[in-house]
């Protein structure tokens, strides 16, 4: 059962109904948030950890939510930032790693129990991952989640014009990928 934003905000605002309201919010938005996180973080295990940490952070910062945006926009921002931070840390750790094995993301995905795609789909994920950070993130949020440029701008701290340009370049590159694999 979907609960409207204003009702959720009223429940969360009041100390006596805060926990119940938060639980309703989690139930209502967790699946949508999970897929936003999963597209950024890729593996299920990491996505689960990141999403749960995001909810814990959201709970801890409820007092700073003044209801000036939609609840989903607010929680989505927390989850996406948590996912981007996770990927950044992972990248830094990979640079410091002395492991010589380079399996390639597409091969890793084909071996992953929670990836159901074929080889072309695995290669597409790899092609998207190879885009520069801003292009990669704006592509995922705009193409898959149909997020507004204004909301993406608030999350990434990049101007809307810059995001539109990045998205345009990302679309071109992914189109090229398909043309090469046809």
């Amino acid at each position: 059962m979907q609960i409207d934003d204003e009702q959720l905000k009223r429940l969360i605002k009041s100390e006596s109904t805060r926990s119940r309201g938060f639980e309703m919010m989690v139930r209502q938005y967790s699946e949508q948030l999970y897929w936003q996180v999963r597209r950024i973080v890729i593996t299920h295990e990491d996505s689960n950890d990141v999403l749960q940490n995001a909810f814990l952070k959201a709970w801890a910062s409820l007092d700073s939510f003044h209801g000036d945006s939609k609840i989903f926009t607010w929680i989505s921002r927390i989850a996406i930032n948590e996912a981007l931070d996770f990927v950044r840390k992972q990248k830094n750790h990979a640079l410091q790693s002395t492991d010589d094995e380079d399996m390639g993301l597409a091969n890793q995905l084909m071996a992953d129990n929670y990836f159901d795609g074929d080889e072309t789909e695995a290669q597409l994920v790899e092609a998207i991952e190879q885009l520069p950070d801003v292009q990669k993130t704006v592509f995922k949020l705009r193409y898959y989640d149909e997020m507004k440029y204004s909301d993406i701008s608030k999350i990434l701290g990049t101007s809307e014009g810059g995001l539109k340009a990045s998205y345009h370049i990302a679309v071109k590159k992914i189109t090229e990928f398909f043309k090469q694999h046809d």
Binding site: S30, H44, G117, Y143, T175
Partner: protein, 124 residues
């Protein structure tokens, strides 16, 4: 760009190749709320002032005062003992010298033993 986007949509469509374990979303909310409740309990335990925690500064102050008092009392006691011992020693020295001193006095006054005995009997 619109053509390219439409081209992508025709190629990629809405298919999502990522999957989740069976029942994952059904138990996710309960798991999240369990973690939140655990965090809240931890916070509540940290914030709760126990009697011991409240009295701790007073106990430290009391312990320091006791140690200080004990120190002062011990110092004074030892001081007194030393002074008593010193007095006793000076008494013993005086007593030790009394016989030889007395004999010296008797020689100086040219008194012999008979004169001393007579003098003592006269006082009685």
């Amino acid at each position: 760009m619109m053509n390219e986007e439409e081209f992508l949509k025709s190629k990629m469509g809405t298919r999502n190749p990522f999957v989740v374990p069976e029942g994952y979303f059904d138990q996710l909310t309960a798991q999240v709320m369990q973690k939140i409740n655990a965090e809240e309990e931890k916070k509540a335990k940290k914030a709760k002032p126990t009697i011991l925690r409240t009295l701790r500064p007073l106990l430290y102050a009391a312990a320091c005062s006791c140690i200080a008092l004990f120190g002062v009392a011990t110092y004074q006691h030892l001081n007194q003992e030393a002074s008593e011992a010193k007095d006793l020693q000076s008494n013993i020295v005086v007593t030790d010298y009394s016989d030889s001193y007395f004999e010296e006095c008797a020689d100086y006054a040219m008194l012999d033993n008979d004169d001393i005995y007579a003098s003592l009997l006269a006082d009685m």
